[in-house]
Each structure stands twice: as C-alpha cells, then as structure tokens.
C-alpha cells in the first residue's frame, strides 16, 4: 500500500467519482466541483504565464523577461502588442451590460481571422486532398509492376461506399429503383462506419477504466 499522501488523495477522489455508479451522492458532487475548480484555476494560471506574460507583459516591458528567464535574451519592445491587448480588454466588457456591445469588435475580428486562416487549409487538406486520395488511383500496382487486385478492390470498395453514402444524404426521400438501392447501400456503409466508431469508443472508455484500476489496485493498494 502506498505511503504517499498524493496517491491517497488521488485514490480517494477516484473512489468519490466512481461512487456515482451507485447513485448521485455528496462525495461525487464534492469531487466534481473540486475538479472543475482546480481545472479553472490551473487554466487561468497557465493562461497568464504562457499567454499574457510572454505575449503582452514582456513585449511591452522587456526587462520583465528577466523574472522568468534570467539567462534568456531580453526581447525588443513591441508597442503594436497594445492592439491585441485592447481587443482583449474589449472582450471582457461583455461583463458590463452598458458596454457589452463593444465586445462584438474583438469577437468579429477573432471569428473573421480564424475563418480566413482556416478556410484555405481545410479546403486543400480536408476537401481536395481527401477527394484525390479516394478516387485517384484506378489500378494499384506493386513495386514489380503487377496489379495488386486486393488493394485495388479495397480502393474501389471505398469509392463505392463513399458514393453510395453521398447518394443516401442527397436523396433523403428514398425512392425506388437504382437510386433507392444505392441509397440503401449507403445506409449500410454508414452503419458499418458508425459501428466501427462505436467499437473504438468502447475500447477508449475501457482503456481509461483499466488505467484507473491499475492506479487503484497497483499504485495505491500494491496488489498488482
């Protein structure tokens, strides 16, 4: 059994959270609130020291860098940092109803720049590159020049599955004949994909549970 106070606290909190499986109770509520509070505090401290300090304080008052990195170089002063700093302060004005309209400016700026920046990358990598990867190779050949029929069949299965999935979403009214058949095939493909995703999700949840039990039975109790 562990003699570390940290391990005992972690074990007690783990048991409090797991007690929710029995029913909702004050111990679970305590652990839940503690987790939310500690997380918020941690993120606030990290946000200050990793964002505000190096990007605002140090760039406006370069000598402040000596406080955190005594051996590091002192950067040049960057007065332009005042612009994002003011935008950040405007964002906080949402807390005052009379001035909350000013928060729209930094929000619009953030949404606009993020959209503009991400759009190109997503169109190239998540749209065009994905279409290219799906339909480009007609016949897959081995390094010796022979046709790899298994890989080629797999590739065409992906093409057929993708196309039938698109048909299912395009013609949601169903329909008879070839179109309806393809849409039903698309539905099967979607179900198989959802099933695989769900199986991965189960594996992930069980892995987390196993990790917690390894901690409780091993690190805490020393049984395994």
């Amino acid at each position: 059994m562990s003699s570390s106070l940290e391990v005992w606290i972690a074990a007690a909190l783990s048991l409090m959270v797991l007690s929710f499986l029995w029913r909702d109770n004050p111990a679970y509520k305590f652990a839940e609130h503690l987790f939310v509070g500690v997380s918020a505090g941690y993120w606030m401290v990290m946000g200050f020291w990793s964002t505000l300090w190096p990007n605002a304080v140090v760039k406006l008052v370069p000598s402040a860098a000596r406080l955190t990195e005594p051996a590091g170089p002192v950067p040049a002063r960057e007065p332009l940092v005042l612009v994002p700093l003011v935008l950040g302060i405007l964002m906080l004005l949402r807390l005052w109803p009379r001035l909350s309209w000013l928060a729209r400016w930094p929000t619009a700026f953030a949404v606009g720049t993020t959209l503009g920046y991400n759009l190109v990358r997503y169109v190239r990598s998540d749209f065009l590159a994905q279409i290219h990867a799906t339909v480009a190779p007609g016949l897959l050949v081995t390094s010796g020049g022979a046709v790899n029929w298994v890989a080629t069949c797999n590739q065409w299965l992906i093409v057929a599955g993708t196309a039938s999935g698109v048909v299912y979403f395009t013609y949601t009214r169903g329909g008879a004949g070839l179109r309806g058949g393809v849409a039903r095939g698309g539905l099967v493909v979607l179900m198989v994909a959802f099933g695989a995703s769900f199986a991965y999700a189960v594996m992930a949840r069980v892995a987390v549970l196993v990790g917690r039990l390894q901690f409780l039975l091993g690190d805490w109790l020393g049984l395994v």
Partner: protein, 296 residues
C-alpha cells in the same frame, strides 16, 4: 431447465439492476489485472509504417514529438509516447518535445521520468533530446514553427537558449525535421499537425490518438498520414514490435498488460449484449406488439 423456467430467468435478467453489471465488470477487470496475462500482438496495417519509418531513421535525425494530451487520456496515449520515445532514443534520433496542451508540460515530465531517465540514463538533455514544452496559440504555433522555430521558442524548458543546444543543430524550421510524431487526444492535435504542419511543408506526419479519435484519422492514411497508432491497441502493437526487435532491452509493457483486461471487458460486454437482447426478444415473441421488460 424447461421453457417456462428459462423464460423466467431471461425476464429476471432483463430487470437486473445495472449496478450488478458494473460489479461484474469491476471483478473481471480486477481479476485479469491480478493475473496479468500477456497476449501476443503484432503490427497492423496502420501501425507498421510508423515503426518502419522510425527504424529507418539515420542516427542523429531530428524528430518533432508533440505531446498533445492530458491526464484524462493518458492511459491510452501515454504508452504510445513512452514506446515511441524509447524507439527514437534506441535509434539515436534526436527527439524534440513540444506540446500544444497546457497540461503537456506535466505529461512531458512523466515521459522524462518513465522513459528517458529510467531507460536511457546516459542520454543528455540538450544533446540527445530537447524539451521545448508548451506554447499557447494552437495551430498558430504550428504555423510559426513552419516559418522559424526561434519565433516561438527562444529557449528550452530549462531556460537554455536554443542556439546553444547541440540537438537542435541544423534545425531552423518545421521542414528540417525528419518526421513529425503527434500524440493527440483532441483539438489541437494530430489533425492540426497534418493540416498546418505536414501538408504545407511535405514533412511526413505520423502519430497516435485515442480510440475515439482513430476513425477520424484513418481517412488521412496513407497519403497525408504515414501511420497511426489507434488507441490502446495501437500502443500494444508498438510495444510488442519494440520487444521483438530489441529483445535485449526489457522495457515495461504497460499497454500490452492493459490489453488483457481490455479483452475480458469486451467479452463481458458482448455477453451482456447477448443476454440483454435475449431477454428483450423473449417477451415480444409471447405477446407480439408489446414491448415488455427492460434491457440492462
């Protein structure tokens, strides 16, 4: 047992309190953890390219390792990080650790304790590997690294200027790295490294992710993503391959040991599913049109 008695058992199973299932799952997992069965495992289509890429790295090749996960997903992703780091150091590559997660520095410290200090005590920080740590900015950090490493990182986590680090000799931008290994549990993570790091620069990207994230990333394989370790299974495959390739180094097999309880849990869940469906279907057959009983 006659038909009526069997039906009665199935009906009672359908009304079983779900907490009995939790208890059964806990008992089975605890028993399996105690026995510690070690199943044989091998590389899959998705994990093999990662192993082979690292195996083919020349000594001294700089490799960017991004630890984009938090304690919540550490049981799945941390074994991958440990196995990949051990493999990189065995090959004599120069891992450069960064993270886009605020909790990443703590994950890096755990990695250092469990893999670097424990298994490679002769390696030196700054010479054989570098810890640059966390920078806020999500994909903007990747964008900045694409242009110039020094704009984001003037020093490593110890405060040593990056110009003074032998491990970063010849590394100025993202495309100076031989490969990007991103271990992720969400956003920002592997997807951002593919979109903003690998695709624009042509630097190969491989990585690992939680089981939940794996189906999303399989779409990028093998064009935009050279290999993927998906969930605990991916980590277990990599540990097994490392043990087969380097039998003289007895590294801990955390993921492989966790696959025993994982397998037992899956078998138990399947059994529950079958029993639940049997108890659900049985009353329906007796009185069509009525949905009696509850599945657990």
């Amino acid at each position: 047992m006659n038909g009526a008695a069997r039906g009665d058992v199935l009906q009672r199973l359908g009304r079983l309190d779900r907490r009995w299932l939790y208890l059964a799952l806990f008992a089975c997992l605890a028993a399996t953890l105690w026995r510690q069965p070690l199943f044989r495992d091998g590389l899959s289509t998705f994990s093999r390219p990662v192993f082979e890429r690292i195996e083919a790295l020349p000594p001294g090749a700089p490799v960017l390792v991004s630890l984009d996960y938090s304690p919540a997903s550490a049981p799945e992703v941390e074994p991958m990080a440990l196995a990949l780091t051990r493999h990189l150091l065995l090959r004599g590559a120069r891992p450069v650790f960064v993270t886009l997660y605020p909790e990443g520095n703590n994950m890096l410290q755990r990695l250092r304790d469990q893999a670097i200090d424990a298994d490679f005590p002769e390696s030196r920080e700054g010479r054989d590997w570098v810890a640059l740590g966390y920078k806020a900015g999500r994909q903007m950090v990747i964008n900045a690294l694409r242009q110039d490493l020094a704009t984001m990182y003037s020093a490593d986590l110890r405060g040593a200027p990056i110009d003074s680090l032998p491990a970063l000799a010849g590394v100025r931008r993202l495309d100076d790295f031989a490969i990007i290994l991103a271990l992720s549990s969400g956003t920002p993570g592997l997807k951002e490294w593919i979109l903003y790091g690998g695709d624009p620069t042509g630097t190969p990207v491989a990585g690992g992710c939680t089981g939940i994230g794996a189906p999303e990333f399989l779409a990028y394989f093998p064009g935009q993503l050279v290999g993927l370790l998906g969930g605990l299974k991916g980590a277990s495959e990599y540990e097994a391959a490392l043990a087969d390739r380097y039998p003289e180094r007895a590294f801990p097999r955390r993921a492989q040991l966790a696959m025993g309880p994982q397998t037992v849990a899956h078998a138990l869940i399947l059994l529950f599913l079958v029993l639940g469906n049997l108890s659900y279907l049985r009353p329906r057959r007796r009185s069509p049109g009525r949905r009696e009983g509850r599945t657990a």
